[in-house]
Symmetry: C2
Subunit: 335 residues, 2 copies
DNA sequence: CACCGCTGTGACATCGATTACCTCGTCTCG
DNA sequence: CGAGACGAGGTAATCGATGTCACAGCGGTG
């Protein structure tokens, strides 16, 4: 075990053949005689040879690595997505490079650029940008998650944002609410737009006038959700229930709701979070299943990497309402 | 923008010089005349040249990439740690490869092996294994997180597990509790051992007899924490408070405590989690600060990569009790 | 018997950047 | 005036694996 690492050349020498033939054996080329193959295989074992992935990648022009680009690695939703992707990648011996955009389009370009520079084999992207022209010539398969790329024909794994939001709001309505607030990101992502549209769908389908004052759009990074929900509750004609369009907003607004002791408020969250079922009342959610999204995205990517060429598709991850209490509270009968 | 990518040779040709000189300019070698330097720099800009990291890594025998190995990427604690590391890496243009061990020592070896094979520049590891002999000859800097390597002189960023646990239990005692249960991982990691030791320190320092029946050690992956806490509460002489030795156990046991409507129970958690401050009562914690751990570990690693050679050190990340309610409940005065 | 095609093999170029080593002036100093 | 130092820059080898292509040997075929 003195030698730091065995090279293909060492294997070839030990097997008394050329590097090319050794390479053939290792890459499973058929055209090698049984005797030579056996010698090479033995040499590989004896020397503990493992091909250098860097050299291999350089020659092949492609790295056995996939890139995952998300808003923020620490976000629980993306953490779960990444966890699932990494699990599947590890089974295939593929490394995962992660990068976060901090929700800034220019950062997205930089990190994607870096990943292309590294010649990743494939990419899974939660894109923040609207403009994907620079990805059009991408030489590796792309799978979008959470938000589809509208200006690019590429696979995507998303949830039915509009339908899910509508489902959530209708759930509140079934329990008697008519005045329902919306709280979501100000961010102009497609996801945010769709969820707001779904909220509106439900409101209007119920014959209720859409009230702009009930819609709060806040900065995702700051603690504005709490402020916003407090303002909503202080209205002259306050909502009896809140639809939180994403997990961050739920995490931001619930502490305030509890501080104000307004746990009588109807509440439904698009996206689950830890302890949602342990709060009092437990929080009714529309289940996102980040694991399912990660799995579906990774499956699609690996399938393309394996050479499959299924038609480009936007896959809808399953979505369902999980009633836990907060979404089933009837509105208070107040003046 | 026709050419897929410019190579150093293209730059050299455009600047009417050799690759060697172009390389000198790019790598900031002084021995180049101003005129030549200017020509090369212009060519770089015009061609949009960016060195190929793969080729560079191959030649240098080292990759501009760091590896991060944790139990599970989806774990909120590690997700935050990774988020912070990735943030610092991105600022330096370093890629981050992540891999999870699933808490299995044999997996740890496999993923570490893969990372070494890739010639990562440095590693940050939450090691699950006790045996680090195979890391002794590691050619790249290592920084351990969460758990120090006891059999290896390497940097580590950990929290004062024993002191923190003692602090937590003493906090409960200050509020009148004498019968305090411990719930933690069965896993034989140093972390778990230290925290149990800290619990014992506090108990014995208070002159209370250590009662083995109050110690529950559960499987981390399963939902055993809930079962265990239920068993504790059903004892003939039940505890009045619980010290949960980690976030997973807190997340596992709190739903059960709430289901049993035992929110009168004293509770303190080693490690924060989302919504801990929104539960009723809010959960008192010993703050871990995963971000601080990630930052300190990354700082140390980058400092070594920059050539600094500070003495090997185990850095203690800050730790403090954050009172929120559940840890300040007085014991019920029962028979 | 000459030729074709197939199999197993290896010498050599290649991927793109770095570097050991060399060349060619010019400048300095004894 | 010649030796040696030094600055600027080039040539070719190198990192490790793989693709190109040529070649030898063999069996079959018209």
């Amino acid at each position: 075990m003195k030698r730091p690492r065995a090279r293909l050349r060492d294997v070839a020498e030990a097997a008394q053949t050329s590097t090319k033939t050794a390479s053939r054996v290792i890459n499973g080329d058929e055209r090698v005689s049984a005797a030579t193959r056996a010698r090479v295989e033995q040499a590989v074992v004896e020397l503990g040879y493992r091909p250098d992935p860097l050299a291999r990648s350089l020659r092949l022009g492609q790295d056995e690595t996939i890139g995952v680009v998300v808003d923020e690695v620490g976000d629980p939703f993306f953490a779960s997505v990444i966890g699932e992707i990494e699990r599947m990648a590890l089974d295939r011996g593929v490394s995962v490079i992660i990068a976060s955009t901090r929700r800034r389009a220019e950062r997205e370009r930089i990190v994607l650029d870096g990943l292309f520079q590294r010649r990743v084999a494939g990419l899974i992207i939660a894109s923040i940008s609207d403009d994907h022209a620079y990805l059009r010539t991408s030489s590796c398969p792309l799978v979008f998650i959470d938000r589809a790329a509208e200006d690019l024909a590429a696979d995507a794994v998303v949830v039915d944002d509009r339908g899910g939001a509508r489902m959530a709001v209708e759930h509140l309505m079934r329990h008697g609410h008519r005045r329902i607030a919306y709280i979501g990101d100000r961010l102009s992502t497609a996801t945010a737009r769709y969820r707001l549209a779904g909220y509106r769908d439900a409101i209007e389908a119920a014959g209720i006038a859409f009230d702009d004052d009930l819609v709060a759009q806040v900065e995702p990074a700051k603690g504005d959700a709490g402020v916003a929900v407090e303002a909503l509750l202080r209205m002259t004609d306050p909502p009896t229930a809140v639809f939180s369009a994403n997990t961050r907003c739920s995490l931001g607004s619930l502490p305030t709701i509890h501080r104000l002791r307004r746990t009588d408020l109807g509440f439904i969250s698009f996206g689950d979070f830890a302890m949602a079922d342990t709060l009092t009342p437990a929080i009714t959610i529309v289940d996102h299943s980040p694991e399912a999204i990660g799995r579906l995205a990774a499956e699609r990517l690996f399938s393309r990497l394996a050479g499959d060429e299924p038609p480009v598709e936007t896959i809808l991850a399953p979505l369902r309402v999980v009633p836990r209490g907060s979404g089933e509270l009837a509105p208070e009968v107040t003046a």
